[in-house]
Protein backbone atom coordinates (compact mmCIF):
# COMPACT_ATOMS: atom_id res chain seq x y z
CA UNK A 1 0.00 0.00 0.00
CA UNK A 2 1.11 3.57 -0.67
CA UNK A 3 0.61 6.61 1.51
CA UNK A 4 -2.56 8.45 0.48
CA UNK A 5 -2.65 11.23 3.06
CA UNK A 6 0.30 12.50 5.05
CA UNK A 7 0.29 15.22 7.72
CA UNK A 8 3.50 16.49 9.36
CA UNK A 9 3.73 19.10 12.10
CA UNK A 10 0.33 20.65 11.32
CA UNK A 11 -0.47 23.60 13.59
CA UNK A 12 -3.64 25.70 13.69
CA UNK A 13 -4.91 28.30 16.11
CA UNK A 14 -8.12 30.33 16.26
CA UNK A 15 -7.48 33.57 18.14
CA UNK A 16 -5.76 32.67 21.41
CA UNK A 17 -6.82 29.00 21.20
CA UNK A 18 -4.19 26.63 19.81
CA UNK A 19 -6.25 23.77 18.35
CA UNK A 20 -3.64 21.72 16.47
CA UNK A 21 -0.14 21.53 18.00
CA UNK A 22 1.81 19.48 15.48
CA UNK A 23 -0.27 16.70 13.96
CA UNK A 24 1.74 13.86 12.38
CA UNK A 25 -0.32 11.17 10.64
CA UNK A 26 -0.21 8.89 7.61
CA UNK A 27 -3.19 7.15 6.00
CA UNK A 28 -2.54 4.35 3.49
CA UNK A 29 -4.47 3.96 0.23
CA UNK A 30 -7.66 1.90 0.70
CA UNK A 31 -7.31 1.98 4.48
CA UNK A 32 -10.02 2.87 6.97
CA UNK A 33 -8.42 5.13 9.57
CA UNK A 34 -10.45 6.17 12.61
CA UNK A 35 -9.44 9.14 14.75
CA UNK A 36 -10.64 9.08 18.34
CA UNK A 37 -10.39 11.79 20.94
CA UNK A 38 -12.45 14.02 23.20
CA UNK A 39 -14.55 16.97 22.10
CA UNK A 40 -12.57 20.06 21.16
CA UNK A 41 -9.29 18.22 20.58
CA UNK A 42 -9.06 19.33 16.94
CA UNK A 43 -10.43 16.34 15.02
CA UNK A 44 -12.84 18.26 12.77
CA UNK A 45 -10.31 21.08 12.23
CA UNK A 46 -7.78 18.49 11.07
CA UNK A 47 -10.25 17.14 8.47
CA UNK A 48 -11.02 20.66 7.26
CA UNK A 49 -7.28 21.37 6.93
CA UNK A 50 -6.88 18.30 4.70
CA UNK A 51 -9.87 19.39 2.62
CA UNK A 52 -8.47 22.91 2.23
CA UNK A 53 -11.45 24.49 4.01
CA UNK A 54 -9.19 25.71 6.83
CA UNK A 55 -5.62 26.94 6.28
CA UNK A 56 -3.05 25.59 8.77
CA UNK A 57 -0.55 27.98 10.36
CA UNK A 58 2.38 25.57 9.89
CA UNK A 59 3.27 22.06 8.80
CA UNK A 60 2.69 20.10 5.62
CA UNK A 61 -0.25 18.12 4.24
CA UNK A 62 0.29 15.83 1.24
CA UNK A 63 -2.33 13.85 -0.69
CA UNK A 64 -0.73 11.33 -3.05
CA UNK A 65 2.52 13.23 -2.47
CA UNK A 66 1.06 16.54 -3.66
CA UNK A 67 1.08 19.46 -1.22
CA UNK A 68 -2.34 20.78 -0.19
CA UNK A 69 -1.41 23.92 1.73
CA UNK A 70 -1.36 26.97 -0.51
CA UNK A 71 -3.65 25.52 -3.20
CA UNK A 72 -6.00 28.11 -4.67
CA UNK A 73 -8.66 28.47 -7.34
CA UNK A 74 -8.94 25.59 -9.80
CA UNK A 75 -6.13 23.59 -8.17
CA UNK A 76 -7.94 23.72 -4.82
CA UNK A 77 -11.25 22.81 -6.48
CA UNK A 78 -9.58 19.84 -8.24
CA UNK A 79 -8.12 18.74 -4.89
CA UNK A 80 -11.49 19.00 -3.15
CA UNK A 81 -13.24 17.08 -5.93
CA UNK A 82 -11.30 13.96 -4.87
CA UNK A 83 -13.07 13.90 -1.51
CA UNK A 84 -16.52 13.03 -0.26
CA UNK A 85 -17.59 14.08 3.19
CA UNK A 86 -20.30 12.99 5.56
CA UNK A 87 -20.86 15.95 7.89
CA UNK A 88 -21.79 15.46 11.53
CA UNK A 89 -25.26 16.96 11.11
CA UNK A 90 -25.70 15.67 7.56
CA UNK A 91 -25.56 19.21 6.09
CA UNK A 92 -28.28 18.33 3.59
CA UNK A 93 -29.61 21.29 1.60
CA UNK A 94 -33.05 22.05 3.06
CA UNK A 95 -34.33 23.67 -0.11
CA UNK A 96 -33.69 20.66 -2.36
CA UNK A 97 -35.41 17.26 -2.50
CA UNK A 98 -33.43 14.18 -1.54
CA UNK A 99 -32.57 13.14 -5.10
CA UNK A 100 -31.17 16.59 -5.95
CA UNK A 101 -29.12 16.57 -2.74
CA UNK A 102 -27.58 13.23 -3.70
CA UNK A 103 -26.94 14.16 -7.32
CA UNK A 104 -25.72 17.67 -6.51
CA UNK A 105 -22.15 17.07 -7.70
CA UNK A 106 -23.18 15.01 -10.72
CA UNK A 107 -23.58 16.37 -14.23
CA UNK A 108 -25.82 15.27 -17.10
CA UNK A 109 -29.55 15.29 -17.82
CA UNK A 110 -31.93 15.40 -14.85
CA UNK A 111 -33.32 11.93 -15.64
CA UNK A 112 -29.84 10.35 -15.44
CA UNK A 113 -28.97 12.23 -12.27
CA UNK A 114 -32.22 11.13 -10.66
CA UNK A 115 -31.53 7.50 -11.64
CA UNK A 116 -28.02 7.78 -10.16
CA UNK A 117 -29.49 9.24 -6.96
CA UNK A 118 -31.95 6.36 -6.64
CA UNK A 119 -29.11 3.89 -7.23
CA UNK A 120 -27.12 5.51 -4.42
CA UNK A 121 -30.19 5.51 -2.18
CA UNK A 122 -30.39 1.76 -2.69
CA UNK A 123 -26.73 1.43 -1.63
CA UNK A 124 -27.58 2.94 1.75
CA UNK A 125 -30.73 0.88 2.14
CA UNK A 126 -33.33 3.48 1.17
CA UNK A 127 -36.03 3.12 -1.48
CA UNK A 128 -36.92 5.36 -4.41
CA UNK A 129 -39.96 6.56 -2.44
CA UNK A 130 -37.80 8.97 -0.43
CA UNK A 131 -36.24 10.57 -3.53
CA UNK A 132 -38.79 13.37 -3.74
CA UNK A 133 -39.02 14.10 -0.01
CA UNK A 134 -37.34 17.12 1.57
CA UNK A 135 -34.63 16.53 4.20
CA UNK A 136 -36.89 17.89 6.97
CA UNK A 137 -39.39 15.11 6.22
CA UNK A 138 -36.82 12.42 7.10
CA UNK A 139 -35.82 10.95 10.47
CA UNK A 140 -32.29 11.56 11.80
CA UNK A 141 -31.13 8.11 10.70
CA UNK A 142 -32.57 8.53 7.22
CA UNK A 143 -30.94 11.96 6.90
CA UNK A 144 -27.60 10.40 7.81
CA UNK A 145 -28.08 7.70 5.19
CA UNK A 146 -29.03 10.28 2.55
CA UNK A 147 -25.93 12.28 3.47
CA UNK A 148 -23.90 9.09 3.11
CA UNK A 149 -25.44 8.49 -0.33
CA UNK A 150 -24.51 12.06 -1.30
CA UNK A 151 -20.94 11.59 -0.06
CA UNK A 152 -20.39 8.50 -2.26
CA UNK A 153 -22.45 9.62 -5.29
CA UNK A 154 -19.49 11.09 -7.19
CA UNK A 155 -17.32 8.04 -6.33
CA UNK A 156 -14.60 9.97 -4.52
CA UNK A 157 -11.17 8.47 -3.85
CA UNK A 158 -11.27 9.52 -0.21
CA UNK A 159 -14.21 9.91 2.16
CA UNK A 160 -14.26 11.68 5.50
CA UNK A 161 -16.88 10.71 8.05
CA UNK A 162 -17.35 13.30 10.80
CA UNK A 163 -18.98 11.56 13.79
CA UNK A 164 -21.24 9.43 11.58
CA UNK A 165 -23.24 7.85 14.43
CA UNK A 166 -23.67 10.86 16.75
CA UNK A 167 -27.28 11.34 17.77
CA UNK A 168 -28.46 7.97 16.44
CA UNK A 169 -29.95 5.09 18.42
CA UNK A 170 -27.62 2.05 18.81
CA UNK A 171 -29.38 0.00 16.14
CA UNK A 172 -29.33 2.79 13.54
CA UNK A 173 -25.71 3.53 14.52
CA UNK A 174 -24.84 -0.10 13.78
CA UNK A 175 -26.64 0.11 10.43
CA UNK A 176 -24.55 3.18 9.53
CA UNK A 177 -21.35 1.46 10.70
CA UNK A 178 -22.12 -1.56 8.51
CA UNK A 179 -22.82 0.72 5.55
CA UNK A 180 -19.54 2.59 6.00
CA UNK A 181 -17.52 -0.60 6.36
CA UNK A 182 -19.27 -2.11 3.37
CA UNK A 183 -18.70 0.98 1.20
CA UNK A 184 -15.02 1.19 2.12
CA UNK A 185 -14.46 -2.51 1.34
CA UNK A 186 -16.70 -2.65 -1.74
CA UNK A 187 -15.63 0.60 -3.41
CA UNK A 188 -11.99 0.48 -2.27
CA UNK A 189 -12.21 3.99 -0.86
CA UNK A 190 -9.69 5.48 1.55
CA UNK A 191 -11.70 6.50 4.62
CA UNK A 192 -10.92 8.81 7.51
CA UNK A 193 -13.51 8.76 10.28
CA UNK A 194 -13.63 10.79 13.46
CA UNK A 195 -15.80 9.50 16.25
CA UNK A 196 -16.27 9.13 20.01
CA UNK A 197 -18.26 5.95 19.52
CA UNK A 198 -16.14 2.89 20.41
CA UNK A 199 -18.52 0.46 18.72
CA UNK A 200 -18.00 2.45 15.50
CA UNK A 201 -14.24 2.25 15.99
CA UNK A 202 -14.30 -1.51 16.38
CA UNK A 203 -16.53 -1.97 13.34
CA UNK A 204 -15.11 0.59 10.88
CA UNK A 205 -11.40 0.86 11.61
CA UNK A 206 -8.38 -0.83 10.10
CA UNK A 207 -6.13 1.62 11.94
CA UNK A 208 -6.86 3.86 14.92
CA UNK A 209 -5.17 7.08 16.01
CA UNK A 210 -5.92 9.05 19.15
CA UNK A 211 -5.73 12.84 19.21
CA UNK A 212 -5.34 14.75 22.46
CA UNK A 213 -4.68 18.47 22.89
CA UNK A 214 -3.95 18.88 19.19
CA UNK A 215 -1.42 16.03 18.85
CA UNK A 216 -1.61 12.37 17.82
CA UNK A 217 -0.65 10.57 21.02
CA UNK A 218 -1.17 6.98 19.88
CA UNK A 219 -1.49 5.19 16.56
CA UNK A 220 -1.89 1.49 15.76
CA UNK A 221 -4.02 -1.29 14.30
CA UNK A 222 -7.58 -1.67 15.63
CA UNK A 223 -6.80 -5.02 17.25
CA UNK A 224 -4.00 -3.51 19.35
CA UNK A 225 -6.33 -0.88 20.83
CA UNK A 226 -7.06 -2.88 23.97
CA UNK A 227 -3.40 -3.67 24.54
CA UNK A 228 -2.14 -0.18 23.71
CA UNK A 229 -0.68 0.35 27.23
CA UNK A 230 -1.30 4.05 26.82
CA UNK A 231 -3.13 5.56 29.80
CA UNK A 232 -4.90 8.14 27.60
CA UNK A 233 -6.16 5.48 25.17
CA UNK A 234 -7.09 3.21 28.07
CA UNK A 235 -9.12 5.96 29.78
CA UNK A 236 -10.85 6.94 26.53
CA UNK A 237 -11.85 3.48 25.28
CA UNK A 238 -13.22 2.55 28.70
CA UNK A 239 -14.94 5.92 29.16
CA UNK A 240 -13.51 6.54 32.63
CA UNK A 241 -13.76 9.92 34.35
CA UNK A 242 -10.53 9.21 36.28
CA UNK A 243 -7.24 9.25 34.38
CA UNK A 244 -4.73 11.51 32.69
CA UNK A 245 -7.41 13.25 30.57
CA UNK A 246 -8.85 15.96 32.79
CA UNK A 247 -12.19 17.59 32.07
CA UNK A 248 -12.29 21.31 32.88
CA UNK A 249 -15.02 20.98 35.51
CA UNK A 250 -15.66 23.51 38.26
CA UNK A 251 -16.18 22.04 41.73
CA UNK A 252 -19.62 22.68 43.25
Amino acid sequence: MSVKISLAGVHKHFGPKQVLRGIDLEVQTGESMVIIGGSGTGKSVMLKCILGLVHPDAGSILVDGQPVIGLKGKALAAHQSRFGMLFQGGALFDSLPVWRNISFALSGPARERRAAAIDNLARVGLGADVADLRPNELSGGMQKRVALARAIAARPEIIFFDEPTTGLDPIMADVINDLIRGLVTELGITALTITHDMSSVRKIADEVAMIHEGRIIWHGPRDSLDSAENPYVDQFIHGRAEGPIKMPLRKL
Binding site: K48, L51, L53, A77, Q80, S81, F83, G84, M85, F87, Q88, G89, A91, L92, F93, D94, F104, A105, R150, A154
Partner: protein, 265 residues
Protein backbone atom coordinates in the same frame (compact mmCIF):
# COMPACT_ATOMS: atom_id res chain seq x y z
CA UNK B 1 -0.52 62.88 37.23
CA UNK B 2 0.32 59.29 36.47
CA UNK B 3 -3.33 58.28 36.95
CA UNK B 4 -4.38 61.01 34.49
CA UNK B 5 -1.88 59.71 31.94
CA UNK B 6 -3.07 56.20 32.58
CA UNK B 7 -6.70 57.26 31.97
CA UNK B 8 -5.73 59.03 28.74
CA UNK B 9 -3.79 55.95 27.62
CA UNK B 10 -6.76 53.69 28.40
CA UNK B 11 -9.09 55.97 26.45
CA UNK B 12 -6.72 56.05 23.46
CA UNK B 13 -6.33 52.26 23.55
CA UNK B 14 -10.12 51.81 23.60
CA UNK B 15 -10.54 54.32 20.78
CA UNK B 16 -7.73 52.71 18.79
CA UNK B 17 -9.22 49.24 19.08
CA UNK B 18 -12.59 50.53 17.86
CA UNK B 19 -10.93 52.24 14.87
CA UNK B 20 -8.88 49.12 14.11
CA UNK B 21 -11.99 46.93 14.28
CA UNK B 22 -13.82 49.34 11.96
CA UNK B 23 -11.02 49.25 9.37
CA UNK B 24 -10.75 45.47 9.68
CA UNK B 25 -14.48 45.14 8.96
CA UNK B 26 -14.26 47.53 6.00
CA UNK B 27 -11.31 45.51 4.66
CA UNK B 28 -13.14 42.19 5.04
CA UNK B 29 -16.29 43.60 3.46
CA UNK B 30 -14.33 45.07 0.53
CA UNK B 31 -12.58 41.74 -0.04
CA UNK B 32 -15.92 39.91 0.13
CA UNK B 33 -17.45 42.33 -2.39
CA UNK B 34 -14.39 41.97 -4.67
CA UNK B 35 -14.60 38.16 -4.65
CA UNK B 36 -18.37 38.34 -5.29
CA UNK B 37 -17.93 40.75 -8.23
CA UNK B 38 -15.19 38.48 -9.63
CA UNK B 39 -17.69 35.59 -9.64
CA UNK B 40 -20.44 37.78 -11.12
CA UNK B 41 -18.44 38.80 -14.19
CA UNK B 42 -16.98 35.37 -15.01
CA UNK B 43 -18.91 32.16 -15.81
CA UNK B 44 -20.14 29.63 -14.81
CA UNK B 45 -23.40 31.18 -13.63
CA UNK B 46 -26.45 29.53 -12.10
CA UNK B 47 -29.53 30.76 -14.05
CA UNK B 48 -31.99 28.71 -11.97
CA UNK B 49 -30.66 30.29 -8.76
CA UNK B 50 -30.77 33.73 -10.36
CA UNK B 51 -34.37 33.30 -11.48
CA UNK B 52 -35.41 32.05 -8.05
CA UNK B 53 -33.77 35.04 -6.34
CA UNK B 54 -35.36 37.49 -8.80
CA UNK B 55 -38.72 36.01 -7.89
CA UNK B 56 -38.04 36.19 -4.15
CA UNK B 57 -36.58 39.70 -4.17
CA UNK B 58 -38.78 41.25 -6.86
CA UNK B 59 -42.14 39.58 -7.18
CA UNK B 60 -42.65 38.74 -3.52
CA UNK B 61 -41.59 42.24 -2.42
CA UNK B 62 -44.14 43.94 -4.69
CA UNK B 63 -47.03 44.03 -2.18
CA UNK B 64 -45.03 45.59 0.66
CA UNK B 65 -43.17 48.04 -1.58
CA UNK B 66 -46.36 48.95 -3.48
CA UNK B 67 -48.43 49.58 -0.36
CA UNK B 68 -45.63 51.63 1.21
CA UNK B 69 -45.45 53.84 -1.89
CA UNK B 70 -49.22 54.20 -2.18
CA UNK B 71 -49.68 55.31 1.45
CA UNK B 72 -46.59 57.54 1.42
CA UNK B 73 -47.66 59.26 -1.82
CA UNK B 74 -51.07 60.00 -0.30
CA UNK B 75 -49.62 61.31 2.96
CA UNK B 76 -47.09 63.42 1.06
CA UNK B 77 -49.80 65.02 -1.08
CA UNK B 78 -51.81 65.82 2.05
CA UNK B 79 -48.80 67.43 3.79
CA UNK B 80 -47.80 69.45 0.72
CA UNK B 81 -51.37 70.68 0.40
CA UNK B 82 -51.44 71.78 4.07
CA UNK B 83 -47.99 73.38 3.89
CA UNK B 84 -48.53 74.91 0.45
CA UNK B 85 -51.87 76.45 1.49
CA UNK B 86 -50.02 78.67 3.96
CA UNK B 87 -48.29 80.37 1.00
CA UNK B 88 -51.17 80.10 -1.49
CA UNK B 89 -49.18 77.37 -3.19
CA UNK B 90 -51.58 74.47 -2.86
CA UNK B 91 -51.46 74.00 -6.62
CA UNK B 92 -47.87 72.70 -6.29
CA UNK B 93 -49.14 69.39 -4.90
CA UNK B 94 -48.78 67.36 -8.16
CA UNK B 95 -45.32 68.75 -9.01
CA UNK B 96 -43.81 68.41 -5.52
CA UNK B 97 -45.38 65.00 -4.99
CA UNK B 98 -43.97 63.54 -8.20
CA UNK B 99 -40.51 65.02 -7.59
CA UNK B 100 -40.50 63.92 -3.95
CA UNK B 101 -41.65 60.42 -4.78
CA UNK B 102 -39.48 59.75 -7.83
CA UNK B 103 -36.29 61.40 -6.60
CA UNK B 104 -36.34 60.36 -2.96
CA UNK B 105 -39.21 58.56 -1.30
CA UNK B 106 -39.85 55.89 -3.94
CA UNK B 107 -36.30 54.53 -4.09
CA UNK B 108 -35.41 55.15 -0.42
CA UNK B 109 -38.57 53.74 1.15
CA UNK B 110 -38.62 50.91 -1.41
CA UNK B 111 -34.98 50.18 -0.59
CA UNK B 112 -35.60 50.22 3.15
CA UNK B 113 -38.63 47.93 2.85
CA UNK B 114 -36.74 45.47 0.64
CA UNK B 115 -33.75 45.62 2.99
CA UNK B 116 -36.00 44.76 5.93
CA UNK B 117 -37.56 41.90 4.03
CA UNK B 118 -34.70 40.53 1.92
CA UNK B 119 -31.40 41.34 3.66
CA UNK B 120 -32.68 39.70 6.84
CA UNK B 121 -33.89 36.62 4.94
CA UNK B 122 -30.58 36.28 3.08
CA UNK B 123 -28.55 36.62 6.29
CA UNK B 124 -30.76 34.09 8.09
CA UNK B 125 -30.62 31.58 5.23
CA UNK B 126 -26.87 31.82 4.60
CA UNK B 127 -26.17 32.03 8.34
CA UNK B 128 -28.12 28.82 8.95
CA UNK B 129 -26.28 27.19 6.04
CA UNK B 130 -22.97 28.29 7.57
CA UNK B 131 -23.65 26.98 11.09
CA UNK B 132 -25.11 23.69 9.80
CA UNK B 133 -22.03 23.21 7.56
CA UNK B 134 -24.10 23.35 4.36
CA UNK B 135 -21.67 25.94 2.93
CA UNK B 136 -18.73 23.60 3.64
CA UNK B 137 -20.78 20.79 2.05
CA UNK B 138 -21.17 22.88 -1.11
CA UNK B 139 -17.38 23.15 -1.36
CA UNK B 140 -16.92 19.40 -0.98
CA UNK B 141 -19.56 18.92 -3.71
CA UNK B 142 -17.47 20.81 -6.29
CA UNK B 143 -19.52 23.98 -6.02
CA UNK B 144 -18.14 27.43 -5.27
CA UNK B 145 -20.43 28.93 -2.58
CA UNK B 146 -19.76 32.44 -3.89
CA UNK B 147 -20.99 31.47 -7.35
CA UNK B 148 -23.94 29.42 -6.13
CA UNK B 149 -25.15 31.55 -3.21
CA UNK B 150 -23.73 35.07 -3.31
CA UNK B 151 -23.49 35.99 -7.01
CA UNK B 152 -27.12 35.14 -7.95
CA UNK B 153 -28.44 37.14 -4.98
CA UNK B 154 -26.42 40.24 -5.85
CA UNK B 155 -27.21 40.09 -9.59
CA UNK B 156 -30.92 39.51 -8.87
CA UNK B 157 -31.11 42.42 -6.41
CA UNK B 158 -29.33 44.84 -8.78
CA UNK B 159 -31.59 43.84 -11.71
CA UNK B 160 -34.88 43.72 -9.86
CA UNK B 161 -34.65 46.76 -7.58
CA UNK B 162 -34.99 49.32 -10.44
CA UNK B 163 -38.14 47.54 -11.65
CA UNK B 164 -39.55 47.47 -8.13
CA UNK B 165 -38.82 51.16 -7.68
CA UNK B 166 -40.40 51.95 -11.05
CA UNK B 167 -43.62 50.32 -9.84
CA UNK B 168 -43.19 51.96 -6.44
CA UNK B 169 -42.84 55.41 -8.05
CA UNK B 170 -45.95 54.88 -10.16
CA UNK B 171 -47.96 53.77 -7.13
CA UNK B 172 -46.63 56.67 -5.03
CA UNK B 173 -47.74 59.18 -7.63
CA UNK B 174 -51.05 57.35 -7.87
CA UNK B 175 -51.48 57.61 -4.10
CA UNK B 176 -51.00 61.37 -4.31
CA UNK B 177 -53.40 61.63 -7.26
CA UNK B 178 -56.06 59.55 -5.47
CA UNK B 179 -55.96 61.71 -2.35
CA UNK B 180 -55.74 64.97 -4.25
CA UNK B 181 -58.70 64.17 -6.51
CA UNK B 182 -60.89 62.41 -3.95
CA UNK B 183 -60.26 64.59 -0.89
CA UNK B 184 -58.61 67.86 -1.87
CA UNK B 185 -60.78 68.70 -4.88
CA UNK B 186 -58.10 68.56 -7.62
CA UNK B 187 -59.17 67.97 -11.22
CA UNK B 188 -57.94 64.55 -12.31
CA UNK B 189 -56.76 65.48 -15.84
CA UNK B 190 -55.07 68.68 -14.63
CA UNK B 191 -53.30 66.82 -11.84
CA UNK B 192 -51.92 64.20 -14.24
CA UNK B 193 -50.92 66.87 -16.79
CA UNK B 194 -48.98 68.81 -14.16
CA UNK B 195 -47.34 65.61 -12.93
CA UNK B 196 -46.18 64.71 -16.45
CA UNK B 197 -45.01 68.28 -17.08
CA UNK B 198 -42.75 68.41 -14.02
CA UNK B 199 -41.35 64.86 -14.24
CA UNK B 200 -37.96 64.93 -16.01
CA UNK B 201 -35.81 62.14 -17.44
CA UNK B 202 -33.06 62.91 -14.87
CA UNK B 203 -35.52 62.23 -12.05
CA UNK B 204 -36.36 58.80 -13.39
CA UNK B 205 -32.76 57.92 -14.25
CA UNK B 206 -31.45 58.94 -10.82
CA UNK B 207 -34.26 56.93 -9.24
CA UNK B 208 -33.24 53.82 -11.20
CA UNK B 209 -29.54 54.31 -10.44
CA UNK B 210 -30.32 54.66 -6.74
CA UNK B 211 -32.44 51.51 -6.87
CA UNK B 212 -29.62 49.50 -8.49
CA UNK B 213 -27.09 50.74 -5.92
CA UNK B 214 -29.50 49.99 -3.05
CA UNK B 215 -30.09 46.50 -4.47
CA UNK B 216 -26.33 45.87 -4.48
CA UNK B 217 -25.95 46.97 -0.85
CA UNK B 218 -29.01 45.02 0.32
CA UNK B 219 -27.76 41.74 -1.18
CA UNK B 220 -24.14 42.41 -0.22
CA UNK B 221 -25.03 43.03 3.44
CA UNK B 222 -27.40 40.06 3.61
CA UNK B 223 -24.81 37.73 2.07
CA UNK B 224 -21.78 39.11 3.95
CA UNK B 225 -23.30 38.86 7.41
CA UNK B 226 -24.94 35.48 6.72
CA UNK B 227 -21.85 33.97 5.10
CA UNK B 228 -19.61 35.02 7.98
CA UNK B 229 -21.97 34.21 10.82
CA UNK B 230 -20.85 31.91 13.62
CA UNK B 231 -21.99 30.83 17.05
CA UNK B 232 -25.20 28.88 16.38
CA UNK B 233 -28.70 30.33 16.56
CA UNK B 234 -27.55 33.43 18.45
CA UNK B 235 -24.93 34.09 15.78
CA UNK B 236 -27.53 33.82 13.02
CA UNK B 237 -29.75 36.26 14.95
CA UNK B 238 -26.87 38.74 15.22
CA UNK B 239 -26.10 38.33 11.50
CA UNK B 240 -29.72 39.08 10.62
CA UNK B 241 -29.84 42.24 12.74
CA UNK B 242 -26.46 43.43 11.46
CA UNK B 243 -27.48 42.80 7.85
CA UNK B 244 -30.61 44.94 8.15
CA UNK B 245 -28.98 47.76 10.12
CA UNK B 246 -25.93 47.99 7.85
CA UNK B 247 -28.10 47.83 4.71
CA UNK B 248 -30.26 50.69 6.10
CA UNK B 249 -27.19 52.82 6.81
CA UNK B 250 -25.63 52.15 3.40
CA UNK B 251 -28.92 52.90 1.62
CA UNK B 252 -29.31 56.26 3.39
CA UNK B 253 -25.63 57.18 2.94
CA UNK B 254 -25.49 56.24 -0.75
CA UNK B 255 -28.80 58.05 -1.33
CA UNK B 256 -27.28 61.23 0.08
CA UNK B 257 -24.15 60.86 -2.04
CA UNK B 258 -26.09 60.20 -5.27
CA UNK B 259 -28.51 63.07 -4.55
CA UNK B 260 -25.64 65.49 -3.97
CA UNK B 261 -23.82 64.32 -7.12
CA UNK B 262 -26.88 64.39 -9.41
CA UNK B 263 -28.87 67.32 -8.03
CA UNK B 264 -26.29 69.23 -6.01
CA UNK B 265 -25.51 71.63 -8.87
Amino acid sequence: MSSLLSNIAQTLIALGSVVLALFATIGKLTRFAGVAIGRIVRPPWYPAQLFEQMLIIGYFSLPVVGLTALFTGSALAQQIYIGGSRFNAASTVPAVTVIGIVRELGPVLGGLMVAGRVASAMAAELGTMRVTEQIDALTTLRTDPFRYLVAPRIIAAVLVMPLLVLVSNALGVMGGWLLATQRLGFNSAAYLNTTAQYLEADDVISSMVKAGVFGFFIALMGCYHGYNSSGGAAGVGRATTNAVVSAFILILLSNLIITVIVFGG
